[in-house]
Amino acid sequence: MFPIVHKRRLSRSVYEMGVQAPAIARKAKAGQFFILRTDEEGERIPLTFSDWDPESGVISFIFMRVGKTTHQLSHLETGDALADVTGPLGIPTHVDGLGRVAVVGGGVGAAVAYPVARAMQEAGSDVTVVLGARNADLLILEEEFRSLGVDLIVVTDDGSAGRKALVTEPLRELCETGAIDSAMAIGPTIMMRFCAETAAEHGVPCVVSLNPIMVDGTGMCGSCRVTVGGETRFACVDGPDFDGHEVDFEELMSRQRVYTDEERLADAEYTEECSCRLE
């Protein structure tokens, strides 16, 4: 069992959690993920490290409540424990020698963008972060990014915080003015797609961090396969980072919807049983 050592609510549906997992905390790198199972009946779900501390043996992550497992997770508290935590999985994000780079974090993608931006900054890159959310309520980690000392551009769809814009607008400006050599986009698939297209228009390389449905996370099942440059790749072992200009986003979005009906059923049953009324 893996004890939960801290938990914090960041917005209406976004939480941060820390779990004691010393072997993993020793090895984690920016951009890598792990797989957890809450209990014996649970599904294996992948989540990205937002932070890790080899000294205390704690790994942290930020998750959005979107379905049954993340809903269950949101009800666990410090002192509870997770049945299984496995990792670190995937190839770490390439952070060295990037020069001037823009990191775009949309929605809960900001959680992944945070350690990536920090690692790039530490590796000596000149980092601009574009932090986006639908509204001020859903905006997370603004303070944390600010304290990294990176250039920070905040946007919301409705203008309730920062600029009223989609993340692609500041990204376009950065590309147009030649202010960046490359970009990395992390967030909802549709956002990553538009970021990659925007960067491509200006000939700027754009890495994306893909999130297909996974089971084992070790290359054993092929559930996570994505088409990149016309070839099938397994995101859990070959990724999750890929060249955004080469990804077949249409296929990825379709594959993410395979279990929509089952997911709805599972979450509806759980919601009824737990009667938290999703406050």
Binding site: A23, I24, K27, R37, E41, G42, E43, R44, K68, T69, A83, D84, V85, T86, G87, P88, L89, V215, D216, T218, G219, M220, C221, G222, S223, R225, V226, T227, T232, V237, E251, S254, R255, R257, V258, Y259, E262, E263, L265, A266, E269
Partner: protein
Amino acid sequence: MPAGVSEGGDATSGGDTPRRKPSRAPRTPMPEQSPVERRGNFDEVTLGYSPEEAVAEAERCLQCKNPTCIEGCPVNIDIKSFLARVIDGDFHGGVEVIKVKNVLPSVCGRVCPQEDQCEVVCVLAKKYEPVAIGRVERFLGDFDLACDIEARCHPEVGEPTGRSAAIVGSGPAGLACAQELARLGHSVAMLEGLHAPGGVLVYGIPEFRLPKDIVQAEIDALIEMGVELRTNVVVGKTVTLDELMGEEGFGTVFIGSGAGLPVFLGIPGENLNGVYSANEFLTRNNLMKAYLFPEYDTPIWRGRKIAVVGGGNVAMDSARTALRLGAEEVFLVYRRSEEEMPARAEEVEHAREEGVEFKMLCSPAEVTGRDGWVTGLVATRMELGEPDDSGRRSPVCVMGSDFEIACDTVIMAVGTRANPLISDAAPGLELTDRGYIVTGDDGSTSLPGVYAGGDIVTGAATVIEAMGAGKRAATAMDAWLQRPR
């Protein structure tokens, strides 16, 4: 001894001379669920012999002077002797004989291809049907498992040697290796990447062929012997081989990580929704228990018309699982002819009885779809060409013979490859050009103190071969640990 089996009571133990006249009865049939009944559940298909049936079957054995069955067994179990014990009603004794060579009789009795191993060379097979060696083995294994854990046939654990070994992977190869090293008194840690131990026995082979509580009972027995099980440890990621032999202080490491990477055909449409690798389909069902959704959280797409591509055990298991999930029609699409299917005869028979429809000499060319979902599988008809050098007639396309099988799910059971997670993190480990680990006969690899065995060395093979390799490596690892330094 159970009542009613005392016939042949003049039996004396041991010796090569037959102690009684062998029975001339036909092969004792295996009780099983009817095809109609079992199609609707995940319970085990075959129910196992009763003590009376086991004895009746053993009594068919001729107790040959030259027992060819033993040579046919990949690990040379003393089959003749365990059958003699069963004839005497000494089931404990029978288990002990098997466990000298094979620690998982309940598993092997169920899944070994006996028809190609011990039974095919049984002397009786020349004129009659061979002794049902596998069924008697299973009976003995189950007899042992049904005893209280203290009363079970455990190997004696030797005096602690103060030396330690790490076993990577808890499939048959790892289990056999761990057991043998523990028996020799070494302290053993078994590292498994998934959340549950057992390898293919747990994530691949379905409940209806190998109940999971049997595998669990065998693993419990290992833990009882003092083996430490560490799940959720992915070697190459959570810890590297170097670290295991260095900081972690293990004297030796065994790699039994299997050949788990699924292969796809590379035909158009393979990433449509509704296309599964057999590994994913079976893992969702067996390891994650998706057939019990929503009680268990992991979902599975339950198609109505399913095409399974392949002709091995993995394809049969996928097809039969699909039926049990409620499919109306299941087609098995295989590019060669039925004689060439590598699946066990018994599994092919079971699949056919349950209603799987065989489409032989068909080679998949494309998966068709609409709105991102599978609508069919286009296949090309094949015919058998001239025999090649090996005398095997390989299939060749019949031009212009493409046809479409309407279906909403396609399961690819066309083989697996070596998973590079461990070797990527161990640059000095010598691999074949296909990524399998190169070893000597004793399982030694190019890295000192590191051994390997099972599917990661041979490519996809069998449970018993993996176990044999694990045990052989354990002998060499013991010598390595005890070497003068």
